[in-house]
């Protein structure tokens, strides 16, 4: 990890000094050693704030897009937007792949200081700043939990999810941390027509969570941020992993794996699965 930090600082310094980047998005230490926090370096003198350790799991792609993303800000004219370099974990890179696929920015607008872990990433980092180990234990745990739910009866599943969703306080933190939730206005904030009841009620919470999951089908790169931040511990990763599996099985498509592919639901094949239709 120390090596990675060193390499990041070195690359950041170079980029800022050479004027190839105006902004480096990375991580710095938070209020104590167990907290990392995203940081935004524009000055060579600040480069040594950058760190990388096991607390650096935030998906920094979020900061690139949306109304005020550094690469897409509606408040800043195209030509005045900074040239950005970003410290990217594999999860962040997969999100970047999706965002490029969805035309949020072009590949050449971003310098990627990538950290790899052997998992599939559909993009070449500009610089590989380090190698980490894949958290296989975590993904195995989620997979196991998905299977466990699949094995329940329909009514057990229904009850189980109703219980999970009942806790939702509709804070929308899941949406806010998601790099793919870059809509100008979320459908849940829409009043005319009102697709999703605003208040926390069993029906509204269910509808919100279903629609959110649907909007991420074939796009979600399973960074797990929504699950991590949910203050009421709704296991959103289960939905992400489950649907990613379905997308892969039905359409042979993996989000974040190919920057040139059309997203799964923006395309079709005449021989797509048909046997579920009468």
């Amino acid at each position: 990890m120390k090596e990675i930090t060193k390499k990041i600082r070195k690359e950041a310094r170079k980029l800022l000094k050479d004027g190839r980047a105006d902004l480096v998005i990375g991580y710095e230490q938070g209020s104590d050693e167990e907290v990392a926090t995203p940081c935004f370096i524009t000055d060579v003198s600040q480069v040594d704030r950058l760190v990388f350790d096991e607390h650096c799991y935030h998906n920094l792609a979020k900061y690139l897009v949306g109304q005020e993303g550094y690469l897409t800000s509606r408040f800043v004219a195209q030509e005045k937007r900074p040239r950005v370099a970003i410290v990217a974990t594999p999860a962040t890179m997969r999100s970047i792949v999706g965002l490029i696929q969805e035309h949020q920015f072009a590949r050449d607008k971003l310098i990627i200081l990538g950290i790899l872990d052997g998992t599939l990433v559909g993009i070449e980092p500009d610089v590989v700043v380090g190698q980490i180990e894949e958290d296989q234990e975590k993904s195995a745990r989620i997979q196991a939990q998905v299977r466990e739910i699949e094995e329940m009866t329909a009514s057990e599943r229904w009850a189980w999810w109703e219980e999970q969703f009942s806790r939702c306080i509709r804070c929308y933190a899941c949406r806010q941390v998601c790099p793919f939730c870059y809509c100008e206005q979320c459908i849940s904030d829409e009043n005319q027509p009102q697709w999703i009841g605003k208040s926390s009620s069993p029906e509204n919470n269910r509808t919100w969570n279903i629609i959110r999951a649907l909007h991420l089908v074939g796009r979600c790169t399973d960074c797990g941020e929504c699950d991590r931040v949910c203050p009421v511990d709704i296991p959103l990763s289960l939905l992400a992993v489950k649907m990613a599996g379905e997308v892969e099985e039905a359409f042979d498509y993996k989000a974040g794996a190919d920057v040139d592919a059309k997203p799964a639901l923006h395309s079709f094949r005449p021989d797509d699965p048909d046997d579920f239709i009468r």
Binding site: A154, S155, P202, I210, L239, K242, A264, F268
Partner: protein, 150 residues
């Protein structure tokens, strides 16, 4: 947290008795399935009156959100129907529908909804009898399931 003014819905078990008439919402593309339903009418083919048809230009206009919303608002079942693959008036709309609905159905199933409650069919403009049969069968399916418990 329990809040004042909140109503907790419980399944109306009484409804599950013989008199239960499920509410079925069907979204039909106007070129094929809606015309097929018209043809069933023209042929005076009888089928259960539980279905309420919403006409859309193409099955690709059927937003999965509409299906979710229909269920939220008390529909016991939802049917999505369009032209057979390759027959879409807009050449490829139904292929997109097929992908979207498969994903919606998989998600809903994972969340515990019985797969019989949300179904999809290809009914062409010449398949009046098929339309009647599809409605007949889905109505039966849902009757056997009873109302969704919330």
């Amino acid at each position: 947290m329990t809040q004042e003014g909140e109503t907790v819905q419980t399944a109306d078990t009484k409804e599950q008795e013989d008199g239960y008439e499920p509410k079925l919402v069907a979204f039909l593309c106007k070129w094929c399935s809606y015309a097929g339903a018209d043809l069933a009418g023209g042929g005076r083919i009888k089928y259960p009156a539980n279905v309420r048809i919403i006409r859309v230009p193409c099955s690709c206009r059927i937003d999965p959100k509409l299906v979710v919303k229909a269920l939220e608002r008390g529909a016991d079942g939802v049917l999505v129907s369009g032209c057979h693959p390759g027959d879409c008036h807009y050449t490829e709309g139904n292929y997109y529908t097929r992908r979207r609905m498969l994903m919606l159905f998989k998600l809903l199933e994972f969340l515990g909804l019985d797969p019989k409650r949300v179904q999809m069919s290809w009914v062409s403009a010449s398949e009046g009898p098929k339309w009647a049969q599809v409605v007949e069968e889905i109505t039966e399916d849902i009757k056997s399931l009873g109302p969704i418990s919330t």
